[in-house]
Assembly symmetry: C2
Homo-oligomer: 279 residues x 2
Amino acid sequence: MHMTKKQLIMENALELFAEQGFEATSVQQITDRCGISKGAFYLAFKSKDELILALIDHFTTQFTSNIDYLVNTTKDDDELLYKFYYFVFDSFERHSDFAKILIKEQMQSFNEDFMLKMRSYDQMMEQTILLMVERLFGDAVDRTKHDLVYSIKGFMKMYSELFIFYNTPLDVDVLARSLVEKTEILAKHIITPFITNELVQQFQHGICKEVSVDQLLDVIERTLHDIDASIEKDSLELLKQELLEPTLSRPLVKGLLENIQLHPHCKWVAYLLRKHFGF
Amino acid sequence: MHMTKKQLIMENALELFAEQGFEATSVQQITDRCGISKGAFYLAFKSKDELILALIDHFTTQFTSNIDYLVNTTKDDDELLYKFYYFVFDSFERHSDFAKILIKEQMQSFNEDFMLKMRSYDQMMEQTILLMVERLFGDAVDRTKHDLVYSIKGFMKMYSELFIFYNTPLDVDVLARSLVEKTEILAKHIITPFITNELVQQFQHGICKEVSVDQLLDVIERTLHDIDASIEKDSLELLKQELLEPTLSRPLVKGLLENIQLHPHCKWVAYLLRKHFGF
DNA sequence: TATACTAATGACTACTCGGTCACTTGTCAA
DNA sequence: TTGACAAGTGACCGAGTAGTCATTAGTATA
């Protein structure tokens, strides 16, 4: 899919951005490192902004949909929290370059819609964690669940710094187990909430949460363009039809989703379709 | 003390940096906002880098020494944790502009020794929290105290985002109480540590922790230059003598420290001297 | 008022940056 | 071999930057 040039640029830019930051890295530096000319860069990306947007999109969609898939497919409640933490920190370790960029550029640095995009990804992640918390601890944490979510995010934030700042290899297994313990302790004992339901609604005020059908069709179209002819491509075509006018039964739709959701390029579209069809 | 011009620049630059980021803000913008010329800027600061360094120095020294003072002067253990959290988030709320800059520019954006400075401030903060944890929970948390410290820092990180991203006024009192509860719950129940003593030593490897006498004298000298003749100035002079050749008894030294540590310009030097003389 | 000195100015320099485009190179089918 | 078209090049442009310095304004002293 002539992605090679784009990928080459993205991989090299990722490292440079992680080292120096986005604004401190020039297009010249990127092209030098890739061994290509400046013109070639602008054949692949319309602008420098489009490049970092593509980078952020690529990693966050991958990460978010993977987590959601994990939570959805892990049937054993006893394992879930461990698997969640393990996957999170394993990802941070493997993609520490990207984690650095996220931390560095997480604010309204340049573009306004870039910020909105970041925020909506964060919301999706929070939603997934909330679903997990509700499933694991149920009504027992009804009043304190949002504080639990925030505590979990706090653990993630703090301990992920270890992977970013220190290059020491860390035992993700032990880390995950110790955080499972902390989380369960908090879930069992918290009485005093800070983040109430009203507060959450105040936060979400003004942030679009639902993905429109048009947006979904757009994502599907782009995904279809990216993948070769295969069972996944056919399944996605059928899902597109289903989206335009529903004809298939739920089990059939679910089966089509199963077909595509392990394909590397389909993870994001599968995540969005899962949410849309209510699986 | 002809600090007025410097302060004018620092206050306006703080807001611009918080809005747009350091690199995206030009010196021209700063001087325009201050209503001064570019030349006047360079009379106050040698470079743009020196400006942000001064900003970071000012706030972090203030914050660190204030926290340390709080922990040292609060005699009632039952109040300590609450007072700690309350002060932390109250500071974040009052200086949210600076908090934004810290988050945005917290990485090795430009200077290498800037990074080292940041890291050493972070270490000092961690040290203070550790002392607090040890004092409050003692041997009971001996194996898990570093995880407790990291959890506390995680809470601080996560909940402080609320002050930065959302402009809603938040009830710091309720927040502090709910975090006190979480912290005490964790302290009581954590069994599985992740951050062991060896790991901590691995992290601290290569980071200078002790402030040399020469550096201390330098800070004293600059502080003396900043403050007017007063009882504080005289006390600091005496402490300087004591540093060069010890003659006074411990109670006398402690008294001198008491004299200076509430003066706005002396908080940092008082913090360093407290640590040096072992109070 | 004249003098001396500091504070302040803004036009200016030297430079870097993102982005463009006329041009060259490589690769096909005819 | 030719021609057509896509892929790739890098000199160049305009905009904007940090930092400088000859000049001026303001002020206190003699």
